[in-house]
Amino acid sequence: MVGFFIVLLLCQLAGEVIVIASGAPLPGPVIGMALLFIGLLVKGSVPPTLGELSNGLLSHLSLLFVPAGVGVMLHAELLGNEILPIAVSLVISTLVTLVITAWIMQRFAGRGVDQ
């Protein structure tokens, strides 16, 4: 388990280093995700313990956003007198983006996989 946690950390670390060295407009962990993905492609399978570890982390991915979410409190006053245009823009834009993305994907992806 510890060994595979090290794998995740090393991928992230390598991702951060690549970002700093190349100035790529991506966060280190996203590059780390790509690196681990390439690693799995090379290996050809997911080691069961790594699978369990990632299930554990990902089944509570929501929890990990709570501290950043609380940070919103710090900046709530930034919304200030523009709170209405900001709120309307965020809600409508997010809903429209969901619909357009899903529609294009469903239209062009061929046979569907139902939830």
Partner: protein
């Protein structure tokens, strides 16, 4: 007695243990409510936990820096968890490979829609230019969105707020809205939630299933890249 209580409070509020426990308890309560509501995405556990914690911090006069000293242990795991998204992606490789072109087209269009609609709606509602520039990258994951915001002349801290709110909106609305419109393909739902609402959307997509989760994680990564390309171009066209 009051003196004792105050002493205990002074001791606890200076230690990271309290903030860490508070974060987990608030989330667990949110999760319990979510399950009680039949896993209804409208009962978003992040939203509940954030509101509960902000309320407690406000009434106790605790500042964010003190809270974050404990909460950072949870926050830190976001990095390794993002890396771990490679695993569901790998497990759905056959699905991804079959629809690669559709994925690229959908993510590109979604990315442009996210930025352009945020700017256009904000503009129509009379928001200032700085606000528009801060809202534009809202669908990308936080570090990317803040970086782009800074680059184009927005307020990175306002962008951070917009990113979190966008994540929660998409996580709450995603499956329900798409289902209402007859779109039930797990690949499309996951992809849309990842493009529109980055990691918070992905967290909710993982609750739908591993296919939706895999496509959502992939979409989040691709959209970070697409947003970094699209926003500077859009800004040049618009402003």
């Amino acid at each position: 007695m009051n003196g004792d209580l105050e002493e205990i409070w002074v001791y606890l509020s200076a230690s990271p243990l309290l903030a860490l426990t508070l974060t987990l308890v608030a989330y667990q309560l949110g999760l319990w409510l979510y399950k009680k509501a039949g896993s209804n995405p409208l009962f978003n556990p992040v939203l509940f936990a954030v509101c509960a914690i902000v309320f407690l911090l406000t009434i106790t006069g605790t500042d964010y820096a003190t809270y974050f000293e404990g909460a950072q242990f949870v926050h830190f795991l976001l990095g390794p968890a993002t890396v771990a998204l490679a695993i569901p992606l790998y497990q759905q490789l056959h699905q991804v490979r079959r629809s690669l072109l559709a994925i690229l087209v959908a993510v590109s269009c979604g990315s442009i829609t996210a930025a352009a609609s945020a700017i256009a709606i904000g503009w129509a509602m009379g928001a200032s230019n700085t606000t528009l520039l801060s809202l534009a990258p809202k669908s990308a994951t936080t570090p990317v969105a803040m970086g782009i915001s800074e680059q184009v002349g927005g307020l990175p801290s306002l962008t951070a707020v917009a990113v979190i709110l966008t994540g929660i909106i998409g996580a709450m609305a995603g499956k329900g809205l798409l289902g209402l419109l007859g779109m039930t393909d797990a690949r499309a739902t996951g992809l849309a939630m990842g493009v529109a609402s980055h990691g918070i959307g992905t967290a909710q997509a993982l609750q739908i299933g591993s296919v939706a989760g895999a496509f959502s994680g992939l979409a989040m990564g691709l959209n970070a890249l697409a947003t970094a390309v699209v926003i500077p171009l859009l800004v040049k066209l618009w402003f």
